[in-house]
């Protein structure tokens, strides 16, 4: 069988017989296609090298507390460039962490993004501005970092343990590289203030988990005790995250603060376990170059194929469960002494102070008084119990309620407050007796009993017992009312009249109709106010006033003219007609009506006044010298006046 394909002819000859050709040809075809794809990627990479760069800088988070670190990311879109020149900022330590590369293909276009990571650690609080960073001829925008004072409480920005990713620490200088061995990638430490304690005694404990630079780990739980001789207070879900340098190697440290208590006497070793998941990247089974050895020498031995991109692509990540353990600590636990133990000792161990107050101190018989006792200090507050004031002839007492207000994260220091309601049963000057509290002081090595001071009270009224509180029989017509508003020790009598009733206790001001009515009233008031203002403004408008006056005067004149026409009074007719025309002309020409004279009309109409001139002249004659014969045809003159008024409109 002859080989038709000119490309594969050489290979066919080399492999011999035609029976193997078909399978070998397919394999070779796949290899060549892969090579073509890789060459295409390489060509794209070469194309990107000449593309312009887009550089940005971001700081995450932008607000931190003193002691915490932020991550500065300088992102360059384009081909690999030289490491950015970082400016130095006073008060900030900036160290390189690493870089990451990503490639994206969008609609056939390849996008290469390189991110240079730095860790920023402030040495003082304040607001810092990182100036623009120069990368490949481009400059980033300045970024601002706000550093707050270090908080004493738990860090709010700490990650949750379930998905904690330990960020790589800063300052990976060459001298630090060999400082930590492979066994020190992560370790656990426990810090306690003393090695000998008493049963029930509570001491503060600090647990620190160290993770080395670049280690990708996740907490798989919280630290737990490996011994049953101790108890540990509940640990917070959010440990504080800081950075520490141990023997020159930077570590990210997660810190829990809690309190440890000894349960039984004896010598025990204290150990803690912390389960973590460490992500381990496994290299592919091939050599570094995935195509090395597969193809003829020289075809894919370019350094391009040694890029970490292929490691990421062909390698895999595996999560490896690990348990961090502390070195065992030997602790001696002493039992509490039995001699001189107070009867009211409830198991409290530590150092405490006692304080009490009662409010109010001036009351009536039967009025409740709140007795508050505060126990402040450090120790096992869960064993701090006070029985409160005991019931007596003078005081009726109720069960005391307690609340604990810790002042530290561990619940080791704080104030426990006991509140008890007590009711005086007798009048006169009374006294709230002292309250006693006993505890064991481990520093002194003995029991201590503290007492509050007795509190003086003034109780008004006479002795009363609820059992004998009586109700006066009601009168059918009158109700018994108290003669004074002073506090009474007896129950006031029933009301004798039912009074008026309402269907609902909800107040009327919540009803929609009531709200609607108020809205209408407010609207009416606003409308009245606006109308009043509008009217006032119109009344004081001079132009409007002039127009209105002129219109009124013209109407009056026309009415008078009409009356004169009906009665045949020619003199009044002409005078009224002139006045009406004068008002109309004055209104048209915006001049006072007294200024409208025959000469003014002639001047304005250029001598083309015609019948208007004649009407004004007749009116003057009618006023002073009598009318000429023929002027009594008032109906005709009325038509003329009408036409002239029309004519004036066109002027």
């Amino acid at each position: 069988m002859k080989l038709n394909c000119p490309i594969f002819g050489r290979f066919a000859g080399a492999y011999g017989g035609p029976s193997h050709f078909s399978t070998r040809c397919v394999a070779l075809r796949v290899l060549v296609m892969a090579a073509v794809m890789i060459l295409a990627i390489r060509a794209t990479a070469l194309t990107l090298r000449s593309s312009p760069h887009d550089v940005t800088a971001s700081l995450q988070p932008s607000t931190i507390q003193l002691g915490q670190t932020a991550q500065l990311a300088v992102t360059v879109q384009g081909d690999r460039v030289d490491t950015p020149d970082l400016p130095s900022v006073k008060g900030l330590q900036i160290g390189p962490v690493g870089e990451s590369t990503s490639m994206q293909s969008v609609n056939g276009n390849m996008h290469n993004t390189i991110t240079y990571l730095y860790q920023v650690r402030p040495t003082r609080q304040g607001t810092f501005t990182l100036p623009s960073i120069a990368v490949a001829g481009e400059r980033t925008a300045p970024v601002v970092l706000k550093v707050l004072h270090k908080a004493t409480g738990r860090s709010r920005g700490s990650p949750a343990p379930g998905n904690l990713r330990v960020p790589p620490p800063a300052f990976n200088t060459p001298n630090d590289q060999g400082a930590a061995s492979a066994g020190e990638m992560a370790f656990l430490r426990v810090l306690i203030p003393k090695r000998r304690l008493h049963v029930g005694e509570m001491i503060p404990v600090t647990i620190k988990a160290y993770f080395r630079a670049g280690l990708n780990a996740t907490l798989n739980g919280l630290p737990t005790l490996s011994s049953d001789a101790f108890t540990l207070n509940k640990l917070g879900d959010q440990p504080d995250e800081t950075t520490e340098v141990v023997r020159g190697v930077p570590y990210t440290v997660l810190t829990w603060s809690s309190a440890l208590a000894a349960v039984k006497a004896g010598d025990y070793s204290l150990g803690l376990d912390l389960p973590v998941l460490v992500r381990v990247r496994e290299r592919s089974a091939h050599a570094r170059n995935p195509f090395q050895g597969m193809l003829p020498q020289g075809m894919f031995n370019d350094p391009f194929f040694d890029d970490s991109f292929f490691d990421n692509f062909f390698g895999s990540v595996r999560e490896k469960p690990m348990t961090l353990r502390t070195d065992p600590l030997k602790l001696g636990v002493l039992s509490l002494p039995t001699e001189n133990r107070p009867d009211d000792f409830s198991g409290a161990v530590g150092q405490f102070t006692l304080r009490s107050e009662a409010t109010p101190t001036h009351v009536a018989v039967g009025d409740p008084v709140t007795l508050k006792v505060e126990v402040t200090g450090a120790g096992n507050f869960d064993r701090v119990n006070l029985p409160g004031l005991q019931e007596s002839d003078v005081w009726k007492t109720y069960r005391a309620n307690s609340t604990f207000d810790p002042t530290d994260d561990a619940g080791y220091r704080g104030t426990k407050t006991f509140e008890q309601a007590i009711v005086p049963q007798k009048g006169g000057p009374q006294e709230v007796p002292a309250i006693h509290f006993s505890y064991f002081d481990p520093d002194l090595g003995r029991y201590v009993t503290q007492s509050t001071k007795s509190i003086h009270m003034v109780v008004t009224g006479v002795a009363v017992s609820p059992a004998v509180a009586t109700i006066a029989p009601p009168s059918p017509t009158t109700s018994v009312r108290p003669t004074t508003s002073a506090p009474k020790a007896t129950l006031a009598a029933d009301k004798a009249e039912a009074g008026s009733s309402v269907r609902d206790l909800r107040p009327v001001f919540l009803s929609p109709w009531f709200i609607g009515v108020q809205g209408l009233i407010i609207l009416a008031a606003a409308a009245g106010l606006v109308g009043l203002r509008f009217r006032e403004r119109r009344r004081h408008d001079p132009a409007l006033h002039r127009r209105r006056t002129a219109r009124s005067a013209m109407e009056t004149s026309l009415a008078r003219m009409e009356n004169a026409a009906q009665t045949g009074n020619a003199s009044v007719f002409f005078v009224s007609a002139r006045d009406a025309l004068r008002e109309r002309l004055a209104s048209r020409w915006h001049i006072p009506s007294t200024a409208v004279t025959i000469s003014e009309i002639d001047r304005r109409l250029n001598g083309d006044a015609g019948e208007l001139h004649e009407l004004f002249a007749l009116a003057d004659r009618a006023a002073y010298a009598g009318l000429p014969p023929g002027a009594e045809q008032l109906d005709q003159w009325k038509c003329i006046v009408t036409e002239q008024l029309k004519h004036v409109e066109t002027l």
Binding site: I471, D494, A498, G499, L505, I522, E555
Partner: protein
């Protein structure tokens, strides 16, 4: 062309001629003259309210006290029966009758007060405090209800809130009364602007003083209503050691316990539970049957 002319003629027919205008003007002139004459004659008599209105207001003022007295003395056999039962020591029966009166006739301050007394005698401090509080909601200045409330709170062992002096002033009027006073003041304020032209010449500067007073009344009433509004969502715990759960479920952990008669701020409801907050800031979910709102929902 002829068509255009006919259109012009029709338009000129529609438009009133100057002669018609003049006639219309004459008519309006005469009407204005008549109005002027009437006004002149009125001004000589002065501004007096219509006589019918005076009669109506007088009648209403005379009949109002009579109506109130008639309502007050109207016989209520159920109430008398409950009073008798309470006087003879049958507090359970009295409580039942008072509760029925409240259901059938609505809420009345004396009935609520008497019901509180019956619960007090039965040792049910929570229900006694609830009914005293409701009576005080309707009549805040009732000294009897306030005194008995203090006694009940003392017996229940819950803290007594002593009202500040300004609260004593606020408690002179109930929320409804103050709402109506404020509404009336607002109405008069609005009317003073609407009838400004008629009232201003007669009252002069006095009108301004009246307006300032009305405005002050409206503002004070609004502030008072805000106070009452903040007291709407209060509830009384009805049973001793009422558990406050961390979630609205009976199986949820108990956060703390509440005393009988304790007054709490009520929040949202979820199923059979209601979120409550105590005076010291603690909050939890309480069964709704164990915490009754003072002002009904």
């Amino acid at each position: 062309m002829s068509h255009q002319n006919s259109r012009k003629e029709a338009a000129s027919e529609r438009r009133p001629s100057l002669e018609q205008k003049i006639r219309r003007l004459v008519r309006s002139y005469r009407a204005a003259e008549r109005r002027r004459q009437r006004k002149k004659s009125k001004s000589t008599r002065g501004h007096r309210p219509p006589r019918n209105l005076c009669w109506l207001i007088g009648l209403a003022l005379n009949l109002l006290p009579l109506a109130i007295m008639a309502a007050a003395v109207s016989p209520n056999p159920d109430f008398d029966q409950a009073l008798a039962a309470s006087a003879t020591g049958h507090y359970d029966q009295a409580a039942r009758i008072y509760s029925r009166i409240l259901t059938e006739q609505g809420y009345s301050a004396p009935v609520l007060y008497n019901l509180g007394n019956t619960f007090y005698h039965q040792g049910q401090w929570g229900r006694a405090i609830l009914n005293y509080e409701r009576a005080l909601w309707l009549v805040p200045h009732d000294a009897d209800a306030a005194a008995n409330l203090r006694l009940a709170q003392g017996q229940a062992g819950v803290p007594v809130a002593i009202p500040a002096p300004w609260e004593t002033l606020v408690h002179l009027f109930s929320a409804n009364t103050i709402a109506w006073i404020g509404s009336a003041a607002l109405l008069m304020f609005a009317l003073s602007w609407l009838v400004h032209r008629r009232v201003q010449p007669v009252w002069g500067r006095g009108l301004r003083a009246v307006r300032v007073c009305l405005c002050a009344v409206v503002l004070l009433a609004s502030a008072d209503l805000v106070y009452w509004w903040t007291r709407l969502d209060r509830a009384v715990i009805l049973s001793a050691d009422t558990p406050a759960h961390v979630a609205p479920a009976a199986a949820a952990d108990v956060s703390f316990s509440l005393n009988e008669g304790q007054i709490v701020d009520a929040g949202k409801a979820h199923g059979d539970f209601r979120l409550v907050r105590t005076a010291d800031g603690r909050s939890g979910w309480v069964n709704r049957n164990r915490a009754a709102l003072i002002v009904s929902e």
